[in-house]
Structures are given as C-alpha cells and as structure tokens.
C-alpha cells in the first residue's frame, strides 16, 4: 500500500495506480477528455494536469499517466491548474464548438465561451485518439490512425481509403466521446463515417451458424 495526500487529505493506493485512478475512486474531480478504462492512457488533452510535490520539489504532471509513489503530495487545484483547464477547454471549444462532449466539459469547468474564433465549426474531433487506441489495443486491428502533424492531424484510414484491416465492429464509433465517428446500419449495409473518410460494408448474417448457436465448423470439431 502506498500512502499519499491529495489536496491535503490522506489516502492509500495500490502500486501501479495513477493519480487519476486514485482520485476517481475517492470522488475527487479531475477533468479528462482523452481517458477511457478500455484503453491505455495517452496524455493528450492535458486537462488532467495536477501539481505534485516530491522531495520538496513541485511539478505539474498529467494525472492520467503519473503513477503514485510513497509520500506523494498532490494538489488538484490552484491558479496554474485553473489556467490550464480554462485555456485547454477554450481551445477545444474553438476547435469543435458543436461537440457535446466538449460543451459539457466546458460547462462543468464554468467556461461558457471561447476567446478564440472557430475556423471549422462543423469539426467534431478533438484528436483524443480514443478511436485509434481502441482499434489497435482492443479490436487488435490498426485500421485507423492519426495521420499528419500539428494542426493538420486527423483520424483516417491508411491513404484515406484502405479499409482492409477494418472489421466494421464499430468500437471506434462507440468510444468516440464527441460524435465525430458515425455508424449507420440499413439495407444490409453498415456505413462507418470517420471525420475524413467513409466506408460501407455488407452486413451478412452469419450463415454458418447452427441451430444450437455454435458455428457449424466449431461444433464439428468438438
């Protein structure tokens, strides 16, 4: 067991837990927009920054990545942290003003509008990479990835059209917190629309399923 303090109160945690996990477990609010239990932490949104003190030295760290250690002192609130949260959420509001996820977080943080002008108001993607992480880490494919650098970065299939690896499972659409990925079924087709490309797949019922629910070939093996 590891002993630490968060905002002056004492807590215990297990080795390998992140500050964010410990805080969440005890109901301490730390905002996040790029975390999901299903996938590994990535540290992209920077909303979860907290200040730590170790051996008398203070430092700002991303709580979703920082693993707790004995004697750690964490503050989740101060002027610098408030400045980070306000700035990041305003930057994201300007990037995707219509994203409900971003709006909800802004509201939680007491931010109602952004000082920056929106250039592409229809954009919904915050580039949190949850979709690409779920595809590679959970589905075991790497059908989509983040391409390009800097502000031209976007989620896409390889070369914007190569769907070879995608199994149309929809995990990416399900995990996307902003609604930037859409999935629609109809007329025997499943259409997935990522922010910059779209692919349709034929939906076929599994014809080989036997009445007992096992695929035929499987039952024949056993």
């Amino acid at each position: 067991m590891i002993n630490l303090t968060i905002d002056g109160k004492k807590y215990q945690a297990e080795e390998g837990q992140t500050i964010l996990e410990v805080a969440n477990r005890h109901g301490i609010f730390i905002p996040t927009l790029c975390v999901d239990e299903a996938v590994s932490a990535y540290g992209a949104c920077r909303l979860c920054m907290v200040e730590i003190e170790r051996k008398g030295r203070k430092k700002l760290v991303a709580s979703c990545l920082y693993e707790v250690e004995e004697g750690l002192a964490v503050s989740t609130q101060n002027e610098r942290i408030a400045n980070i949260r306000k700035t990041v959420i305003e930057l994201l509001l300007a990037r995707c003003p219509q994203s409900e996820g971003v709006q909800a977080m802004a509201k939680k943080l007491g931010v109602t509008c952004s000082r920056f002008e929106s250039e592409k108001p229809e954009n919904l993607c915050t580039l949190c990479a949850l979709c690409t992480r779920v595809c590679s880490e959970v589905v075991g494919k790497s059908a989509i990835s983040l391409v390009s650098r800097g502000t031209s970065r976007e989620v896409a299939l390889p070369y914007y059209e190569d769907k070879t690896d995608c199994i149309a499972c929809g995990s990416c659409a399900y995990i996307c917190p902003t609604g930037a990925i859409k999935m629609e079924d109809g007329n025997g087709m499943r259409t997935i629309t990522w922010p910059n490309c779209q692919v349709s797949f034929n939906l076929s019922a599994v014809p080989s399923a036997a009445p007992n629910g096992f695929p035929k070939n499987r039952s024949s093996i056993s």
Partner: protein, 623 residues
C-alpha cells in the same frame, strides 16, 4: 584506400605501436595544404579546388613533398573555400581554381604570402596572414572542434595521429566503469543537445538500472534551423564521437549503440559508416575491443527529418519503427528507454567531449567555464553579424564578445538590436543583456536558453513582434499535434501575433499572449510545447514598447511590418534619376522627367522595398 592487410589490435600496446609508426611516417615539417571540404565550402566549389591543387602539385613535381588534405568544416564557412597551409598556418579564403598555380609558385615554393587572398578585418582593415590571428578564430577555444581542420575525416590514421583513441585505450585498460562515470560526473559536463542535463548523472542512473541489456544512443538529428554543429562534427571528426560512445557504453555496461542521423545529412552518414568500419577493422569496436573482453556494436539509423524526432522519447519511438511522437517520461529513459530497456541518449557534441575529459581529466575540464556550466560550447552564429559560422568558445564568454569580437559586429553600420539564443524556441535578448555570460542557467534566468546553440543576431531593421511571429509559425508547423496546448495553443498565439503585425492588434492581446504562454508551458507534453512561448515571452519582456506601438499607434518602429508602413519620396532629395523607376516591379513610380522628383502611386505600391534599396540619394523614406 583501406589497407588490405589491416591489423586488428589485440591490446593497447599494439595500438600505441601503430600510432608511433604513423607519427614516424609523418614529417612534421612537411607542408600540408588543409582544404576545407565541409558542406559549406563544398557549396563554393572546394572539391574542385582540392583536385586542382593535386593536379598542379604533381605538375610542379611536388606531389610527394606536399600533402593535400581534405578536411571537415573549419567553421568560417561564409569565407569558403578555405585553405590553411601548415606548418606556417597561412590562411587563404574565397579561393578560386585560378588562384592555385600562384599559390604553388609563391607560397609553397617561395614561402611568399599572397596579399589578395588574405582575410581583411572589416573593423581595422588589417590583413591577417595566419589563421590564429583572424579575429573570428582569435577568441575561440577549439577543444572539441579544432581537429576538424587538421584531419581527413575518412582516415582513421589521421585521427590516431592527433592522439585519437588514446582515451579509449586509457579507459578500457586502466579505469573501472564506475571510475569513468565518476570522472564524467566530476567534470561537470552537461548535455549539449538542449536541456543541459548533467551527463555523468544520466550515465550513473543508467548504469545502476537493473537490466542486463542497455542501450546507448547518439542524437544526430539536429532539427534546429540554422544549427549545423552536430553535422560538422559528424562529418569532420566522426571518430571523436564514436570514441566517446565506446567509452560511454563501456562505462554504462551497454553492448549495443545507435547513431540517429537525419537523412538530409548524407555526408555525415557516409563518414560515420566509414568510421565505424575502420574502427571495427582496427579492433576498436566490435568484439573483444583491444583485447579487453568488452564488446560493442554501433548501428546507424536515419531519421526522417521531423524536428520533433530530436526529442528523446520521440527519437526512441522512431528507432523502434513507430511514429516519432513524444510520450511522457515520468520514468526516465535511463531506466526505461529504447525497447523499455535502460538507455543513455546524448548529443553528438556531448559524446565528442568524452575523450577529452578522459584524456585530460575532470579537473582540467572543469577549470574551463563557469560555476554551473563547464567546458566549451559550439555555437552557430548567423544573422546580422559580419562573421558568420561555427564557433567554439569557453562557457562564460559574454554575448558581447561573441557578437563583436568573434562576430565582428553588425554589418553596414547598423545598430545591434537583439540576439536570439537557443534556436526557434529560445529567447531574444536585448542590448542591455550583452554582457551576460553564456551559461545554461544564466540564459534560462534571462528568459532564453542554451538549446542546441543556434544564435541569430538581429539589427535595428528587425521587428521583434514579427520575429516572434516567425518562430511561432515554425513551431506551429513542427508540433507533432499530439497534445492540445501545443497543437492548438501555439497556433492561436501565432494568429494573435499575425494580427498585431497587420495592425489589427487589440488592447488585451499582450495579456492574452502571456496567459496562453503560461498554460502552454505548464501543460505541454514535451519540451517543444514547453519552450515554444519563449520567443514571445522574451520579446514582450524586453521589447514590450514595440508590441504597444503596433497595437496602440498602429506603427512598426523597426519599419518591417508591411501593413504598417508606407514608402514615400522626399522631393527635396530626388533629382529624378529614375533608378527606383527601373527597380519598381509594379509600375508604382511615375517619372515626371529629369530634374523633377518622381511620384509614388500608393495604390500600386506592393511595399516590396525595391525603390528604397535602389535609391542612392536617400530620396525614398519609409514611414
């Protein structure tokens, strides 16, 4: 060129015997014509000059009496092609092929100096005969970089002749790995790649990490625009870097090393590959180095050339074949780096300092420099300064000495305005800071940084808001885009700066820039974002009045921001000579005939400045 009967040395004694043999063969009184064939001089045709020398010498029957040695960069690239004639150390610059017969006739045969090929000091108009008297070199202390001008980088024997691999021999035969680490700690050497982290401590934590597999990496990515010291060292003296790496690997307990070189540096790659091969052939690298039982393999890896790939975690990801993006390093890479194994990553120049420290000792090394920054540092000095190029100076030298004594001051009698240290994410320091000693901590305290060592001098014609905008737009383009504050924040800062330079700045913009800077510094994932606000914060700190003039008076004091200036004709000065009329590409100048001043049609003027540059009588003014 490589000897077929290569002898692999199985002991330090055998290596030393070889060195004596090389030295005996070399008559120190023999004339050597050292021709710089670094990338800069080659651009001026140095290779052809070297060939012409060979040809003319053999014509004159001097082929075996005089040695032509093609070397790496000497630093004073803008004066290339450069030649130094030894042992007298006669320095000729801007050579043409047609100069060569005369040099052979007069200088080589008759020891006569050819005046017109000498360097003229722009301050005193004196002609300088010897390399060591040229002001550009005079205040330098070229410990790491000096052999660049002495040796042929493709010849390991040249390196042995100047004492190369002596330190490796000393380390491997006489020192325990722990002693080497202690020596490097004691030397006070700090990393030359930017952050200035103490090298010895980095080595120690890697050595102490519990894992039998450890890696050593040399960072030769050098993404900073205008910086070329790592390239010049790798091209001009690759063995010094490799020797440092072997010593480091031995000290840390690593048997596998990588040199990560950016792909745009083909000569550096070529020379490094050749040097590795030569060192292996001599038994200085590979298995059972010098019979000590220590093995090391060095691989070369070519980087794709993204600025961010120089960042340590991004570089390691790239080495692993992944996308070169940084990740948080709350666990140091010295404990979990490449392939999650303990890894020591150092910069080219850092590695090249190691042989010196081992040879001469930590006490010798840390007598040079300041309390917190030991040794020398190589800088690339560019911009509005008379002498540009690579310089190596002791830490603690003042910016004024660099700009005026070595750099020769500001061209065209203009006024010095600022010096940007630390590359694109460094800061701009004003005239009042010129006496600041160059030192990791002093520069940081002043709002700038050491960075990789790029220095850009600016004069009165540079607008500091525009400069800040320029650097931010570079950084915006180089941001990998992973984290929000860097990707979105730097872009917003660039946009605000752009508005200000266009005369659309508003009250509150400076405060907004400051507040954004704070958040980006505090929250960015890697040091690219963390230091990106430096150019803005330092220019606000030292040149706030320029920001205010743009925002409140809608003027650009340096008269650089096109949207805020107009060109006008001063009638009293203009005799209608028509020079500007000819220069103007848009037909905005209207001639009224001889002896009548020209008229400038503002509606057609694109503010290119051609008229201003063309007018010899100062009849065009910028308002």
């Amino acid at each position: 060129m490589i000897n077929t009967a290569i002898k692999k040395f199985n002991s330090v004694a055998e290596l030393e015997a070889k060195r004596q043999e090389i030295l005996k063969d070399r008559n120190s009184q023999k004339t050597v014509i050292a021709i710089c064939c670094g990338t800069g001089c080659q651009a001026y045709g140095a290779k052809k000059v070297a060939d012409a020398f060979e040809e003319e010498l053999s014509k004159a029957g001097l082929g075996d009496k005089v040695e032509v040695r093609t070397t790496g960069c000497h630093g004073f690239c803008e004066r290339g092609p450069l030649v130094v004639i030894r042992p007298q150390n006669i320095f000729y610059q801007r050579l043409k092929i047609s100069d060569i017969p005369e040099i052979i006739e007069k200088t080589i045969k008759n020891n006569e100096v050819i005046e017109r090929l000498l360097y003229v000091d722009p301050m005193t108009k004196d002609k300088k005969v010897h390399e060591h008297d040229v002001p550009f070199y005079k205040k330098q202390m070229r410990l790491v970089f000096g052999n660049n001008g002495n040796i042929d980088p493709t010849s390991i024997d040249d390196y042995l002749a100047v004492g190369g691999y002596k330190s490796l021999a000393k380390a491997i035969s006489g020192l325990k790995p722990e002693e080497i680490v202690e020596e490097v700690i004691k030397s006070g050497l700090r990393g030359r790649g930017g952050g200035g982290f103490p090298t010895g401590w980095k080595w120690k934590s890697c050595r102490d990490a519990h894992d039998p597999v450890k890696y050593v990496i040399c960072n030769c990515d050098e993404g900073d625009p205008g910086a070329f010291m790592d390239r010049s060292l790798m091209e001009g003296n690759p063995h010094s870097v490799i020797e440092g790496m072997i010593i480091g690997a031995y000290a840390i307990g690593s048997h596998e090393a990588y040199i990560y070189i950016r792909d745009e540096y083909p000569m550096a790659v070529k020379h490094a590959l050749l040097a590795i091969k030569q060192a292996e052939d001599y038994g200085l690298l590979g298995e059972n180095i010098l019979g000590s039982g220590f093995d090391l393999k060095i691989h070369i890896n070519r980087g794709g050339g993204a600025f961010v790939c120089g960042e340590s975690t991004a570089l390691m990801a790239s080495l692993e074949g992944k996308v070169g993006e940084p990740r948080a390093k709350y666990v140091h890479t010295s404990e979990k780096g490449l392939h999650d194994k303990p890894t020591t990553l150092n910069n080219v120049e850092t590695w090249a300092n190691i042989p010196l420290i081992i040879e001469k000792g930590a006490d010798w090394f840390n007598k040079i420099g300041t309390e917190g920054s030991k040794g020398t540092k190589i800088f690339s000095l560019v911009g509005k300064v008379n002498n540009t190029g690579l310089i190596e100076v002791p830490m603690g030298i003042t910016l004024r000495e660099i700009v005026y004594d070595i750099g020769g001051g500001i061209p065209k009698g203009k006024k010095f305005k600022a010096i940007q240290t630390g590359g694109p994410s460094g800061g701009c320091l004003p005239e009042s800071m010129l006496d600041l000693p160059v030192d990791f901590d002093e520069l940081t305290k002043a709002g700038s940084m050491m960075g990789s060592g790029a220095m850009i001098v600016m004069d009165e014609d540079n607008c500091m808001v525009e400069i800040a905008r320029y650097f931010l737009s570079f950084l915006e383009g180089e941001s990998c885009g992973k984290c929000v504050p860097c990707r979105e924040g730097v872009k917003r800062m660039r946009q605000i700066l752009e508005r200000i330079t266009k005369g659309e700045g508003e009250e509150g913009d400076i405060e907004l820039l400051e507040q954004l800077s704070q958040a980006i510094q505090d929250a960015s994932l890697c040091a690219l974002g963390g230091s990106a606000p430096n150019p803005v914060l330092s220019t606000i700190k030292y040149f706030r009045d320029e920001y205010e003039a743009h925002i409140r008076q809608k003027t650009c004091p340096a008269k650089e921001c096109k949207a805020l200036i107009t060109y006008n004709i001063i009638d009293a000065n203009c005799p209608g000579c028509g020079l500007c009329y000819k220069a103007c590409p848009t037909g905005a100048i209207i001639s009224q005939g001889k002896k009548m001043p020209v008229i400038l049609d503002q509606s057609k003027c694109t503010k290119c400045g051609a008229c201003f540059d063309a007018c010899k009588l100062h009849a065009v003014e910028i308002r």
